[in-house]
């Protein structure tokens, strides 16, 4: 078990859309250095929870606190998404949300946006310090391109790329932000086995070598059981179980809610 320093504290978070309850008193912790998987059937509120953390939804009730590297606490429910990104929380989306008409390089350079200082005037002049800044950050982006093995497509426009590569570029964009916490919304959806294995390897490397805490939504139980340190199961907006993968695998409530029938677990 890794050291138990809570970096993200979700407390009693409830989110409603009119009469529909998306999240109901969700409480969980994300510990430093772990890979936390969030599972649950469709409509359980997994993506809603991620949207609350990254500031796209504002829960009607509850608190989400992020602890930064200096131990300062930040209340995320009061911040705008871009401010949350500046704190060091990056994410990917279930349906790829890349900047479709931009090149892979430019997409990744946008991941560096919060680390750069250029303003309107310095960018327009592109002289001296601004040029040096662009080059310095280009070097960081190239490291990520190397890491994700996408050198051959760096100048391609992302809308022309196949699905699996787009997923990888989106991971790269989030990674370029050098986040403390990386939120991944179904990073392996719609991939074949080989692509899934690649993606799992990238996620493990990001977690182990770069020390990034990962929160991951995933439907592929095999992947979840293999790579996550801890699993949280949601159903109808509630946390129904939490624990190491082996425990979740045999948890009665999870089996009922998510996997339907115990006999199905044989295939996992």
């Amino acid at each position: 078990m890794k050291r138990q320093i809570s970096r993200l504290q979700v407390r009693d978070v409830s989110l409603y859309f009119g009469g529909v309850t998306a999240l109901s008193e969700v409480t969980l912790d994300v510990y430093e250095g772990e890979i936390l998987a969030i599972i649950g059937p469709n409509g359980a509120g997994k993506t809603s929870l991620l949207n609350c953390i990254s500031g796209l939804y504002r829960p009607q009730q509850g608190h989400i606190t992020f602890v930064d590297n200096n131990g300062r606490h930040h209340e995320l429910t009061r911040l705008r998404p871009y401010q949350i990104a500046q704190l060091g929380i990056a994410r990917t989306f279930q349906n790829i949300e890349l900047f479709r008409h931009m090149t892979v390089l430019d997409n990744l350079m946008l991941g560096r946006h919060v680390h750069m200082k250029g303003n309107l005037l310095s960018c327009g002049l592109y002289w001296g310090r601004q040029q040096a800044e662009e080059i310095a950050h280009r070097e960081r982006v190239e490291e990520i391109i190397d890491f994700l093995e996408i050198e051959h497509i760096r100048r391609q426009v992302v809308s022309t790329l196949p699905y699996g590569l787009q997923k990888r570029v989106e991971l790269g964009r989030a990674l370029a932000l050098e986040p403390d916490i990386l939120l991944l919304d179904e990073p392996m959806a719609g991939m074949n086995v080989e692509e899934k294995e690649d993606m799992a390897r990238f996620i493990l490397d990001i977690n182990e070598e770069r020390g990034v805490t990962v929160v991951l939504i995933e439907h592929d139980m095999g992947v979840v059981m293999d790579i996550s340190d801890r699993v949280v199961a949601l159903d109808f907006g509630r946390v129904i179980a939490e624990g190491p993968p082996d425990e979740i695998r045999s948890n009665e409530l999870v089996i009922q809610a998510y996997l339907g029938d115990e006999s199905l677990m044989a295939f996992v």
Binding site: A85, D106, L110, H113, N119, G124, I135, R173, A174
Partner: protein
């Protein structure tokens, strides 16, 4: 033709013109621009000046519409602010013309930010209607604030001069117009290869993802409105000093539409496209006019129907180009370059 070009530094790889052929093309174009006024007739010089000023305005509009994805029908209004700003500053306040131009552009930028506020809540066609309101408000103000603008009467401003040299001839003004157009193009090109411009494009492509990756979308939308309006105001201010007579009729909704047509025909999100569009929309009516007059002398009978026919031909040619290349003349130019990229081999 240019295989085997490799870069060893990021600086070279990130240059505006990366390849030898690109540099050569730019040098040739620059040379042509410098030689042009010495060999061109006044008629052509006049057209060149119009194209240069329209290019500045089109780049300005393209920053907002093509690059940042915020549709604007307020182009005419912002040009009016620039033109009347420059006019009032020189004719009423006696500020020298070279100072009045940047001040007028800055005023326009401020007005642009103000009318950009609805963009924080509105997108697409709804935003277009909100900017239409800007157009109407400014037009109404210009016509009715008689003490400042002269109302429906044309406003006359003194000819621009530097050190007692009058600059209102086509030849002399050419250098100002072309110089400012070149600076505008350079600034914009730099902008969109670095941090702020990338954020603009990100807002166009996926505003939610832009916000989540750390772009303050509200701030950058207003910044885009301000930057765009600055150049549109610059175009208006230069136009005022070039014509030395300003009339509100030059800055109506029709102007806004013509500029939108310019950047759509030229190419959205492209600086070259802005220039192509400006040239196209300036030269085409001129050509049709010339051709019409030539026909008229041979067939006097068509004189009465000619104006109507000219407009129709103008419209038809625009439709033709949009169908042939919906992504604009800039795309056509790219295709030509790509064809010659591996020339004389087929791939």
């Amino acid at each position: 033709m240019e295989c085997g070009v490799y870069f060893t530094t990021y600086k070279d790889d990130m240059a505006l013109r990366r390849k030898p052929l690109e540099k050569l093309r730019l040098a040739l174009f620059a040379a042509l621009v410098v030689i042009f006024p010495f060999i061109a007739s006044p008629y052509w010089l006049n057209l060149a000046n119009q194209i240069a000023l329209a290019t500045i305005g089109a780049i300005g509009l393209n920053i907002l519409v093509g690059y940042t994805g915020q549709i604007s029908l307020g182009q005419g209004a912002f040009m009016a602010v620039g033109a009347y700003g420059a006019g009032v500053l020189t004719a009423r306040l006696g500020i020298p013309f070279w100072l009045s131009i940047p001040i007028a552009a800055l005023i326009t930028a401020a007005v642009g930010v103000l009318f950009g506020l609805p963009s924080l809540r509105l997108k697409g066609l709804y935003l277009a209607i909100a900017t239409l309101a800007a157009q109407e408000i400014v037009e109404w103000t210009v016509v009715h604030w008689t003490s400042l603008t002269g109302g429906v009467e044309a406003m006359v401003i003194p000819a621009p001069r530097i050190l007692n040299m009058r600059l209102n001839t086509d030849f002399r003004f050419y250098w100002i117009a072309v110089g400012m157009a070149a600076l505008t193009a350079l600034f914009t090109a730099n902008l969109f290869r670095s941090r702020v411009g990338r954020a603009f494009v990100a807002i166009r492509d996926q505003d939610i993802a832009a916000e989540v990756i750390g772009v303050n979308v509200y701030l950058y939308k207003l910044l885009a409105f301000g930057t765009s309006s600055f150049f549109v105001g610059l175009s208006g201010a230069l136009l005022a000093h070039y014509r030395t007579i300003i009339s509100w009729e030059r800055f109506t909704l029709e102007t806004s539409i013509v500029y939108l047509a310019m950047i759509i025909i030229g190419g959205l999100g492209s600086i070259q496209g802005s220039f192509f569009g400006a040239a196209f929309m300036t030269l085409l009516p001129a050509f049709i006019n010339t051709a019409g007059r030539a026909l008229q002398s041979t067939f006097p009978a068509i004189a009465t129907v000619l104006p109507a026919v000219q407009q129709s031909i103008f419209g038809a040619i625009i439709i033709f180009f949009l169908i042939v290349e919906p992504e604009g003349l800039a795309k056509l130019w790219r295709d030509i370059k790509n064809y010659f990229y591996v020339w004389p081999f087929s791939y």
